[in-house]
């Protein structure tokens, strides 16, 4: 039985083992045998075992209200006090398992994928740093440590996206990810400070009780909530800060699976789930609309992308939008549920794409072809026969993300859609939210099957390359098999076996708590609404998923509908989608360029006016003054006074030199004279 302090010890170990691996690998990794990968893999496997034992303990206790908090004082300046600590409840434990599990599979996958990389040990070191910071976010019980680890996660993301920094695009993508995140983080910081000013504490529980006592309310609370949510917008890549995530695919594919699909981008969702009780109704509405819009909007971009990883990247943005939408409509348990299932199937999809890219890469390498893009789906096709394990695991994950029954995605997506439907039933003016949700569901099913058909079915587009395609080694297929099997519903509904209801250990152990803001519906009311909307939502979601899959089959499998003709017919929309709604271009034109112009104008004012006349003028005056002082000092003081003292001393010395005769008797005479003088003076 794990209770009390042992949980604290476990959490400390889970938190710090990866950072120990990081320290070892970054300093001496290169000199260790196998470049130190076993240090990182060992550390992460131990954290996996520890997390799983905490999960087992959670099952044995079966206590939905389990909560364990430890904290210690970090900075204590009387009125200003910062405390750090852990807050462990069932959500934390599940999230720890997700992080440890995905991180372990990434470590194992990378053994093969990153083999022979020039910065192999550094890569493993950064993975350790990331796992450490992610666990820090998961365990945090206050906004300050959350923020610290939030930034650490940003740094490790930056380092890993830019792993191949010799490539210009990778270095730029890393910078873009970091800077875009900064925009959100500023909002997050403002939110934290607003909360602290009003309540005087960073601790989550203190915040909740402070808000329920009305220490902060009204528009200020909404503003603080939106500020904190802005952090989540940046990290979870929501509209309008979604631009960094697709570019982040420049990083190694296992990193994309770990950070930019399963865990790091989920940190934003985790933050909103964690802090759900403190969002005001207005803030929640903003959250819902941002999430819903992102879900639909990103899905429409994913439809036309040809780069296999870009499709998955926009799919991730869209799925994260789903989770945010669920938080916004108050169904945050469903958001967390989707986070959990999404982590498994999306990591699986990314490993699958990694496996395909790996195979393409090797085949192209043997052909000595360095111009063909190994990630472009138009160069693939028919890989099913060559890579059966990759195909089947990816197919399972695709069924899961599309929301087909018997898979986990069906349950979590259904819970979210039921939540939005219930919300719209309660507030008919927000009818757009379920439209966003169901629309995105249809498109998701379509583009995911498009990906599968283009990659694995049909004829090989490049027969020469196709000949060299092989199934990936075991270190890469093992994570695929593991994660695709975790996509089956049964792992989430135990001890019940009904595949159409999400009723199971998850819903029983993780229960929604009431919002502490007046005006929000209680958890019971939300649950009641969802319960009623459950079956209509399920029927609708099956319908739209079926429609999406059917369309994809007709277009890309049976070729009954020509994709080319359709894209030509809807030329304008197609171009918009293919170019990602020209977001990067418009940001460049309306945001970056004006800022650059402003910067240039300021630089001109600063450099050519201020510096030239004021600063340089100041310099000239100083120079002149210095010259004057120099003259005074050298000619006056030095020559007359300082040297004068020296000359006087020298003169005296020369005079006194004559006394020194070198004759012993003279000295005796002087001594005698001295004695006589002393005697005479004493007598007087």
């Amino acid at each position: 039985m794990i209770t009390g302090n042992i949980i604290t010890d476990f959490c400390l170990l889970i938190l710090f083992l990866p950072v120990v691996a990081f320290a070892i690998n970054i300093f001496i990794g290169k000199r260790l045998p196998r470049q130190g990968d076993w240090v990182s893999v060992g550390a992460i496997l131990i954290t996996l075992v520890l997390s799983l034992s905490m999960l087992m303990n959670m099952f044995m206790n079966w206590d939905p209200n389990f909560s364990h908090e430890v904290q210690f004082s970090w900075i204590d300046l009387g009125a200003f006090k910062i405390e750090l600590g852990f807050w462990v409840d069932n959500i934390t434990i599940v999230m720890l398992v997700v992080v440890a599990l995905i991180s372990s599979t990434t470590h194992i996958f990378s053994l093969e994928y990153m083999k022979g990389d020039i910065r192999y040990s550094r890569y493993y070191a950064y993975l350790g740093l990331f796992t450490f910071s992610m666990n820090g976010i998961v365990l945090a019980n206050n906004l300050i440590s959350m923020y610290i680890f939030w930034e650490l996660v940003g740094v490790s993301s930056y380092l890993l996206i830019g792993h191949w920094f010799e490539k210009h695009s990778a270095a730029n993508a890393a910078k873009k990810a970091f800077l875009t995140n900064r925009v959100g983080d500023i909002g997050f910081f403002i939110g934290i400070m607003l909360m602290f000013t009003a309540i005087g504490s960073f601790n989550f529980q203190d915040l909740f009780s402070g808000i329920s006592q009305g220490m902060i309310s009204g528009q200020l609370l909404t503003l603080a909530g939106v500020g904190i949510f802005l952090g989540a917008v940046g990290k979870s890549s929501q509209f309008p800060l979604h631009i960094w995530l697709p570019d982040a695919m420049e990083g190694p594919t296992p990193v994309s699976a770990l950070m930019h699909a399963a865990t790091m981008v989920a940190a934003g969702v985790y933050l909103t789930v964690r802090l759900f009780p403190l969002f005001s109704p207005d803030a929640l509405l903003i959250i819902a609309y941002v999430g819903g819009f992102t879900a639909l909007f990103a899905a429409t971009i994913a439809v036309t992308q040809n780069d296999i990883k870009k499709v998955l990247a926009y799919s991730t943005v869209s799925q994260l939008g789903y989770m945010i939408l669920a938080v916004g409509v108050g169904n945050y348990v469903a958001a967390f549920f989707h986070l959990l299932t999404h982590a498994m199937f999306k990591a699986c999809l990314f490993y699958g794409s990694g496996s395909v890219i790996h195979a393409m890469h090797h085949s192209l390498h043997e052909l000595n072809d360095h111009d063909t893009d190994p990630q472009d789906m138009r160069n693939m096709g028919g890989f099913k026969s060559k890579m059966p394990i990759t195909y089947w695991t990816m197919a399972i994950a695709t069924l899961t993300i599309s929301g087909v029954p018997f898979f986990s995605g069906f349950l979590s997506k259904d819970a979210i859609l039921a939540g939005t439907l219930a919300f719209a039933q309660h507030y008919p003016q927000h009818f757009l939210l379920p439209l966003f949700g169901f629309g995105a569901a249809a498109i998701t099913a379509f583009y995911m099957f498009r990906l599968i058909f283009m990659t694995f079915h049909g004829e090989a587009k490049m027969p020469k390359v196709f000949k060299g395609i092989h199934e990936s080694p075991r270190a890469m297929t093992f994570p695929l098999i593991l994660l695709s099997s975790l996509s089956f519903f049964i792992f989430y509904t135990l001890p019940y076996l009904n595949p159409f209801s999400d009723h199971g250990w998850f819903t029983e152990l993780i229960q929604a708590s009431d919002s502490v803001v007046k005006g929000n519906p209680t958890a019971g009311e939300i649950y009641e609404g969802i319960h009623h909307a459950h079956y209509p939502a399920m029927a609708l979601s099956l319908l739209v998923a079926g429609f999406g899959i059917g369309m994809a089959t007709l277009m890309y499998m049976k070729k009954k509908i020509s994709a080319d003709i359709w894209s030509a017919k809807m030329g304008f929309l197609y171009k918009l989608s293919l170019n990602k709604y020209f977001f990067d271009e418009n940001y460049d034109r309306f945001l970056y360029q004006p800022v650059l112009k402003l910067s240039r104008a300021i630089a001109y004012a600063d450099w050519d006016l201020y510096d030239k006349y004021f600063i340089n003028g100041f310099g000239r005056v100083t120079k002149w003054l210095a010259f004057l002082t120099g003259r005074l000092d050298y000619d006056g003081l030095d020559q007359k006074l300082v040297d004068g003292v020296g000359r006087t001393a020298q003169g005296f010395g020369n005079q006194l030199k004559n006394v020194q005769t070198g004759r012993l008797q003279n000295y005796m005479l002087f001594a005698l004279a001295g004695v006589i003088v002393i005697l005479v003076m004493q007598t007087i």
């Binding site: 020194q660 070198g662 004759r663 012993l664 005796m668 005698l672």
Partner: protein
């Protein structure tokens, strides 16, 4: 006239003679002899004060002390003079003035 005064006169005379010898003699050995005279004048003072001073001072011990010390001093000084002679081939103290330069 008190008898102590007589002794002191003798002592003072002896001191002056010794000092004169130290200051005027060029010969190192003669300088040394002057020093011996000075020491002995001090001895006379010690004994005179011990005998007539009425202050219950045991000066004899110091007189013996000084005699022993003078012997030791003479030995060392003669050794120095011999060394000077070995180095300069003279014992005229005026010629031994290298420290001046």
């Amino acid at each position: 006239m008190d008898s102590l005064t007589n002794y002191l006169f003798v002592s003072a005379a002896l001191f002056c003679l010794g000092l004169y010898g130290v200051i005027t003699r060029r010969n190192g050995v003669a300088v040394l002899m002057g020093v011996e005279l000075i020491l002995n004048s001090a001895n006379i003072n010690f004994l005179a004060f011990a005998r007539f001073g009425g202050m219950n001072i045991t000066g004899h011990v110091y007189a013996l002390f000084v005699i022993v010390l003078a012997a030791a001093e003479a030995a060392v000084a003669l050794a120095i003079i011999i060394n000077i002679f070995n180095n300069f081939k003279t014992i005229n103290v005026d010629d031994v003035s290298q420290l001046r330069q």
